[in-house]
Symmetry: D2
Subunit: 430 residues, 4 copies
Amino acid sequence: MIDPVCTIADEIEKQVVAYRRDLHRYAELGWTEFRTASLIARRLVDLGYVVSAGRDVIRAEDRMGVPSEDMLEACWQRAGDEGGDPAFLEVMRGGFTGVVGVLQHGEGPVVGLRFDIDALPVSESRDPDHCPVREGFVSLHDGVAHACGHDGHGAVGLGVAEVVSRLRQEIRGTIKLIFQPAEEGVRGAKSMVGAGVLDDVDRLLGHHLYSGWETGEIAPWTGGYLATTKFDAVFSGLAAHAAGQPQKGKNALLAAAAAVLHLYAISRHRDGSTRINVGQLIAGSGRNVIPADARLMIETRGATTELNEYMYDRAVLVLEGAARMYECDVDICAMGAAQSADGDPQMMAQVVEMALLLGATMLRPPREGGGSEDFTCMMRRVQERGGLATNIGIGAGIDGWGHHTARFDLDEKAMACAVKLLAALALTLG
Amino acid sequence: MIDPVCTIADEIEKQVVAYRRDLHRYAELGWTEFRTASLIARRLVDLGYVVSAGRDVIRAEDRMGVPSEDMLEACWQRAGDEGGDPAFLEVMRGGFTGVVGVLQHGEGPVVGLRFDIDALPVSESRDPDHCPVREGFVSLHDGVAHACGHDGHGAVGLGVAEVVSRLRQEIRGTIKLIFQPAEEGVRGAKSMVGAGVLDDVDRLLGHHLYSGWETGEIAPWTGGYLATTKFDAVFSGLAAHAAGQPQKGKNALLAAAAAVLHLYAISRHRDGSTRINVGQLIAGSGRNVIPADARLMIETRGATTELNEYMYDRAVLVLEGAARMYECDVDICAMGAAQSADGDPQMMAQVVEMALLLGATMLRPPREGGGSEDFTCMMRRVQERGGLATNIGIGAGIDGWGHHTARFDLDEKAMACAVKLLAALALTLG
Amino acid sequence: MIDPVCTIADEIEKQVVAYRRDLHRYAELGWTEFRTASLIARRLVDLGYVVSAGRDVIRAEDRMGVPSEDMLEACWQRAGDEGGDPAFLEVMRGGFTGVVGVLQHGEGPVVGLRFDIDALPVSESRDPDHCPVREGFVSLHDGVAHACGHDGHGAVGLGVAEVVSRLRQEIRGTIKLIFQPAEEGVRGAKSMVGAGVLDDVDRLLGHHLYSGWETGEIAPWTGGYLATTKFDAVFSGLAAHAAGQPQKGKNALLAAAAAVLHLYAISRHRDGSTRINVGQLIAGSGRNVIPADARLMIETRGATTELNEYMYDRAVLVLEGAARMYECDVDICAMGAAQSADGDPQMMAQVVEMALLLGATMLRPPREGGGSEDFTCMMRRVQERGGLATNIGIGAGIDGWGHHTARFDLDEKAMACAVKLLAALALTLG
Amino acid sequence: MIDPVCTIADEIEKQVVAYRRDLHRYAELGWTEFRTASLIARRLVDLGYVVSAGRDVIRAEDRMGVPSEDMLEACWQRAGDEGGDPAFLEVMRGGFTGVVGVLQHGEGPVVGLRFDIDALPVSESRDPDHCPVREGFVSLHDGVAHACGHDGHGAVGLGVAEVVSRLRQEIRGTIKLIFQPAEEGVRGAKSMVGAGVLDDVDRLLGHHLYSGWETGEIAPWTGGYLATTKFDAVFSGLAAHAAGQPQKGKNALLAAAAAVLHLYAISRHRDGSTRINVGQLIAGSGRNVIPADARLMIETRGATTELNEYMYDRAVLVLEGAARMYECDVDICAMGAAQSADGDPQMMAQVVEMALLLGATMLRPPREGGGSEDFTCMMRRVQERGGLATNIGIGAGIDGWGHHTARFDLDEKAMACAVKLLAALALTLG
């Protein structure tokens, strides 16, 4: 099995690089991946997959952190201008940029592979030494860039799709390729879970390319993820002239400032790490006006889903109490969510075994970190049903800057490794 | 009319001084004026007044800032030991230390005069130069002293009672002498208003002796009083070990501290002065225990009753919001109340006229200040019914310290002036 | 004197209206009144005045709330394109948009008249019923409009200049016309005082047109102004990943929120009204980043200059304490200042007398309000030197909306009244 | 070696119980263990130890949380009345209640054993079922009880002293018995370290009896201790009449309340658990007085000494910032300190080996908890010098209530186990 996988993967390596550079050039933010997702869907159809997209794989009510209607529409129009697939664009209009491709053969379990495809609100470097500049695929979209490697993830997904398609006689069961929007801000996974995409999956694999690891390094689990809730709180009060009628105002800025203090003062918890942050506060208008509006961008985290819920529940009490104090209203709006999760040891062992067969130069122990990843929502659904899941870390080392920076880049050679590992696992886990 | 009033007043001057010194020696705090009030009641009976006392003139539900049962009982026992009138003590038991004496003759309006009789939690000076020490009438009760002159007010009341009694043929209508407990902390007036004591009064006079004015000075109105509400707030949470189970605590100290900040941050009001103070905060137990209890002593004030209500209403919102934030309960307990009020110009003119007839050396304009006085509650009731009221300032200058200090004292000569002015007004307003 | 003043004023009434409409059409914000001020300066030269402008009448260090270099330069270029006077533009470059014109004859005092000329950041209504739209002089500058009548003030100033110029033989001393930039936000007066413009003025007059009063109404004093300080506070901390390295952050948003609470909690003052407001707070960047920056727009006010200083001094302590708590730096930047002031009764009487001679339909008593006006800085300087000053309110009633709104407008007839009153006073006070 | 140790320990078992009951009956709080310590010192002399006490083993500047002079003197007088040893009382006067006894023989290392001897501010149960009541050794001192077993620790120490003394020929080096005051509140260890008591110790053993474990259970390390700092903060401001002169006050209560909020808001740390608590806040006097004083009882903790220092350093910044904000002064007073520490594996292995030889019924793994223990300060000093240390947990199970409660009790049989284990280790570690 491994030999034909490797042979095909080597044949299509240049094509995978071309995919990645095309996605990079037309980087699209979460929920606006219209061009990206429609072209992926078209390619999957061409490769013989049964393809679902749009509202069939994205549940509207479970989407979080969706841009404004105007923004969605403008990006949708742009995707049309930039060569998006017209038929799929139609079903994705309004921000339904998920794609699922299925290929079945013989009897066996459903193996799911997930690829996230969104870019970041980062202005990509124009430095001539930056490879995408030098090679001519730097982002065409101002203020948007693939600064976390999801362009690579999407390209790897198309590479895996082709390998599996060519070897479809080897499939024992079902291969399900899941292309997810809006991973940044942990906004998208929940809507695909809500649409039932994971409900028949028995084995689930994700992966992430890391520019900080050497190419060839593999980790069978990337976890230590914190559960998290992202949400905005908007206080509404009443404006008044600050000198002439101060008593008539209902001071939303003051309510928001009070909330900030008390949010950070939520008690520590004996059972493990908790976090809270108010990343942004924008309030008020003129200097001499009692502020009538205030918006806070907040996140809570916890070492477990329960610890995160502890933080979130107390945060809501604080926000409500602050509103009451100053006679304001407060609206709380969910903007993202992820859970804590653990990779299944059995599946991690299979990943290690396959990586060694494929000649991985180094194996990393499960990685500890402070980040969050909404792939955990998909893992939880699969694990609840008795399935197995893990997320694989793959080194794509480059002498550049870190993830989420203007100079971020990948070693494109790592993509072939990823295609081989994921395709081989897909065909053997089944 | 004036001549006989003056003649009698001069005759009884020494007796009035003796009354004052006796009250001073047995100083009693608000709601525990058992000896003071029972002896006043007995004297009024002896002078021929129809006397009501206890629950007939004090409405239980309207009392504020009442000491504990144990304290009331201990003071009541002491009053018996120290020569209180047994019959009246019986009706005053439990803290019902008001007295009303009525004398009627002929047809005419009801003229009320109010005298407050409580002492302060101040330790009186033992300095040999302090007149009460030198003359042997320093307070016998540790930590309690007549440091605001209410001993003088009570003595003046008994003097007026005697003058009026002797001249009862001159009464045109009804004279009603009202001896009020618990003026300090503005706790007592409301309960006499609640009992209906003011409901038939057409003309109402109060007075206050001031050691900072020269003896002989008279002001027809002592106002500029701020309306005020005194209240305690008690937060109740849940204790927990601060290191072992911090998340299980409901932190009452933290809720109280939050409330403090937000109370001071209540917005200023365009219509005039407002005040708020948290005079005391006591919270918590051991260093390593999340505090389960916190008590705040609070007061709001305003240049008008409406401004004070603005402050109080917002304070309640703050307290409730703080409790909600930290999952605590909060109980708010009224401890005192006074209103803003204005002396009636017509009555002020009559005071001025009479003072001049009696040879007042100087007339003060209506005095402005930042204090509060619960006589305003009685004034308001009379004024609402169409009656007239004012509070008279009377100089009792002495080379001592200020009101509410350990060395406070009065010029006792001022009491004869007060008796003359009040008795003459009582007989002529009617 | 009055007759020739009125005759000339009537002759030039249409010209004054034309001036106003021209200024209105090319509305310019504070410190960018390049076209406005350069054309005024040119006109004064033509009328025979000795004219000073630019850095001679504006002290650079005393300017407050100056726009960015880029903004100043862009507006300056625009003024050139829109017909500003080239010679005066040169001296005003960089935001020195004050003008002073002097005319002297005979012996006598220096009479100063001040006219403010800046517009507001308001988008003017495009409603066809709005007179400037109907008559074709609506603002050409997006987001900038003369919504407080300073276009009228500037036009009245040019009208007065012409009347006085034609009657220069009647001058007994010196007439000094002062055109001030940046009154909105009380930013400009201090810099003209700093340049010494007021140092020889013996009598000082200002005026304000009010659309809410009926045309013909005159008030000899528009005061009741609160002293005020406008300032920004910028907290600088250190960003860090909120989940991965929370302890490394220095949270500027948290410091700013703390400051907000404590600013509002500054104690009330017994001597009169005080105010504080945080009109705007902008802090932070991404949701998962400890915020490294926060900016607050703050103002303090007081019934007197001393009360405002009390508030400002305490505010600085609060800001410094909040910075210390969270290891941030805080920079405080002055953005505007005005003082409390009283019109001089003697001068007010002269205004009343003249207004009656000119047939004012109604005289208003000195007006009480809660606003601020930086003309007070000029008044104070004159009064300190023993001079006299007042600010005159002049009705310019129109059935429109209030000051500072999109539909604000003036009754242009009021401008002739203003020209007559101010010119007549200028010639007779001298 | 083990046989003679066990033989002697069994012989003196009743004596050890008698020691414990005597210490229990005369329970003394930290720094007032005058009777307890002086009798222990006397007994050590009688057993042939070289004894140091008082200032020789307690460094005055390093004592924390010392009671008032009056309290110390009263307890000292009481100790004299209740049979304390006069000679040693003399050197302990003023709160120097530590004792060290040394016995040397042959060549070898210094083995230290530490015993803490203070009681708690708990009112012991008077229930007839409570063993100390039934058996007649309930605490004679109101509000003070041995509710954490330190009476047992002291008695075990005397038992070990006797066993070792009788077997002194077996000593290979030096045995140093350290009796420490004021462990409760982690106040005492630092002062013995400061006096140099640990500077020659090569092997250090502590122990703690636990009523919640079954008698016979042994743990070679009782750790998981959090490092902690206990401290008080006292804010001093300026009183003023809250209505008449609010601006003159410097509000210490407000400063303290601000500090409370910001203390709880100190950022979490990525490296492990942190804690903070304000266990008590007492501030203010009268309701209408701006509060001039406030006292907070605070503690910080951390999973490591470094994490605790992080919390403490930030807490100091918060306290200073709050004081600055409200123009108050703040004094910070150390009240207790403990560090994190780990038992040395080599010594833990020796404890396990010996416990098994002595027939321990069960061995507990190193215990995790959320508490603190100032024995860690002594361990750190020994470990810094290259020595080894651990603290042994010993079950003393009883069907009673938990540590620090009114009904706490010990199974006295556990004391013989402890004497055997510690004496045997003392003789063999050397």
